[in-house]
């Protein structure tokens, strides 16, 4: 499903943030992306959600070469990817419901066709009561769950999450992790960038991708429960 071959990335004339990154992830994989701060985790996620093009190398996703994919085809690919940002990136002028349903709205779907599904999702992540609230009044954990709900509302084939438990208490972190595992069991490929060793330890079925000095190594899943 995802194949990186000797991918390199640099910003402008700066040093290479990612060097010779090569890995393959099959459909339905659950992967933790870890490494020290500044190692390039967020940059790797950017490459995965088409936020950047690689400086060199080959990225194959969904059977397409991302390096040569025309820009006008980005939206179609992005709709197959859900992204949870570390800083949530919710739109402050939209309600929780509108934020969460955004991917469906921009896809041209009518609100009547998705209202019930979105409400069900909001209830599932514990935000049913906050559907009409704006992000400014949501707590960090609520924003995090809204961001996760937005990422999964379109039933993406690939879910990318950047430090999804960085702003929540351990209890909520566990709940969110269960949510990701559940989604993974339903067939979604999931890549979670995190520093949280406990989170990784609590998920033995996941593989761990470590970035160090711009290079990537993958350890296999320790066990599958």
């Amino acid at each position: 499903m995802i194949r990186f071959e000797n991918v390199g990335l640099r910003y402008g004339a700066g040093p290479e943030i990612l060097r010779d990154v090569s890995f393959t992830l099959e459909k339905g994989a659950l992967v933790f992306l870890t490494g020290p701060s500044g190692a390039g985790k967020t940059s790797l996620l950017r490459l995965l959600h088409l936020g950047r093009r690689p400086t060199r190398g080959l990225i194959h996703m969904f059977g397409r070469d991302m390096a040569t994919l025309p820009r006008k085809e980005f939206p179609a690919i992005r709709r197959r990817i859900g992204v949870v940002f570390q800083d949530f990136r919710l739109l402050d002028h939209l309600t929780t419901f509108e934020n969460v349903s955004l991917p469906l709205h921009v896809d041209g779907k009518k609100p009547a066709s998705y209202r019930d599904n979105v409400m069900e999702l909001l209830n599932w992540v514990g935000l049913g009561e906050q559907a009409n609230a704006y992000p400014e009044v949501l707590s960090g954990g609520e924003k995090q769950r809204a961001a996760i709900a937005r990422a999964i509302v379109g039933q993406p084939e690939l879910l990318l999450a950047d430090e999804p438990t960085g702003n929540v208490d351990p209890q909520l972190a566990k709940r969110l992790l269960r949510l990701f595992v559940e989604l993974n069991r339903l067939g979604t490929t999931i890549i979670i960038a995190t520093h949280d060793a406990q989170l990784i330890a609590a998920t033995p079925e996941a593989r761990v991708m470590t970035i160090k000095e711009g290079r990537v190594g993958i350890t296999p899943a320790r066990a599958v429960s």
Binding site: R71, R89, F97, P103, V106, A112, A133, V137, L138
Partner: protein
């Protein structure tokens, strides 16, 4: 619930998706655009109105002088009786011609009155050998051929000739044409300025919403979808600005018409300056055209600019 605001496209209750714009309002660029667009539409409407006034006045003047001609009989070494005889003969000759509705022999007093504004009330006018004039009223529908009348007059009456104001009419017509081109040039310049203004304002609006647009891109929004959100704002703002600008111009012309009808202004000056103000109000199509063009410029220019900016600025990689 704390934090609730007006419901949008996807409010949970009531279930009525509205036409709410997905982009937050970028008030500053939009307000600047509206003010500038209103002023430009006002200027465009003033230019168009001025053009109609000028054309109206020229048409009035041309119609007036086209139906008139003046026969001049130059004084010679003769007594008053002989001059009067030549004048009367010229008047009879002209009156008998087909296409001439009537003639009026100007008395010496009337002649002097015509020259008095330039030469004053001194005795100079009594000593000058003034030409005698015969005002000829031509048939407005089937006017006599002025050249033929002139030739006939020269042939039959010594020292007489006919001035049909042809040169004057031609100059007026040239002036009308020049004014027309000038007005058109002003309108084109205003339209070009409006296009640039919309493009700049659209860029500013997109820049102000840069983060929102990035997020929209990330959730799979296509450029035309985002551009549509921008265009909706500019379409509405452009229409309101055009309406305000044209209305402002109407108020200006209404004030001019009021001034024209006031007692304070002399009749001739009033007729000369404002005689055709009323003409302005008859050109409904032109006003609608200005509003339509301004709205179209807002639509097309905003969409073109938005698509280009989205492609250029928000290009990934």
């Amino acid at each position: 619930m704390k934090g609730e605001k007006a419901s949008g496209w996807g409010s949970v209750h009531p279930v009525t998706p509205s036409g709410r714009n997905i982009l937050p309002r970028a008030d500053a660029p939009l307000r600047t655009f509206m003010v500038a667009m209103t002023v430009m539409c006002y200027l465009a409407a003033l230019a168009a109105g001025g053009l109609f006034m000028t054309w109206g006045a020229i048409a009035q003047w041309t119609a007036g002088v086209s139906a008139q001609a003046t026969a001049r009989i130059m004084p010679m070494q003769e007594d008053e009786k002989a001059v009067t005889a030549r004048v009367q003969a010229a008047a009879r000759l002209l009156a008998a011609q087909k296409g001439v509705r009537g003639v009026h022999v100007l008395s010496r007093e009337e002649n002097k009155a015509l020259l008095r504004p330039w030469l004053g009330r001194s005795g100079l006018l009594d000593n000058l050998p003034l030409p005698r004039l015969v005002a000829v009223q031509l048939d407005p529908v089937h006017p006599a051929d002025a050249d033929r009348l002139d030739a006939l007059l020269r042939q039959r009456i010594k020292g007489a000739r006919l001035d049909a104001h042809g040169r004057w009419v031609m100059e007026l017509s040239q002036m009308a044409s020049t004014v027309g081109w000038l007005g058109l040039a002003i309108l084109v310049v205003i339209a070009l300025a409006a296009i640039l203004l919309v493009a700049q304002a659209a860029r500013a609006a997109l820049e102000a919403n840069r983060e929102t647009i990035e997020i929209l891109h990330l959730v799979g929004a296509r450029d035309p979808f985002i551009a549509r959100q921008v265009v909706r704002r500019f379409l509405r703002a452009g229409f309101i600005a055009a309406l305000a600008g044209v209305s402002g111009a109407w108020v200006t012309f209404a004030l001019l018409a009021l001034l024209a009808s006031s007692e304070g202004m002399g009749g001739s000056a009033r007729d000369l300056l404002f005689g055709s103000v009323s003409v302005v109000f008859r050109h409904y199509a032109a006003w609608l055209f200005i509003i339509l063009i301004a709205t179209l410029i807002s639509l097309v220019s905003a969409r073109t600019a938005a698509m280009r900016i989205l492609h250029d600025i928000f290009r990934q990689g």
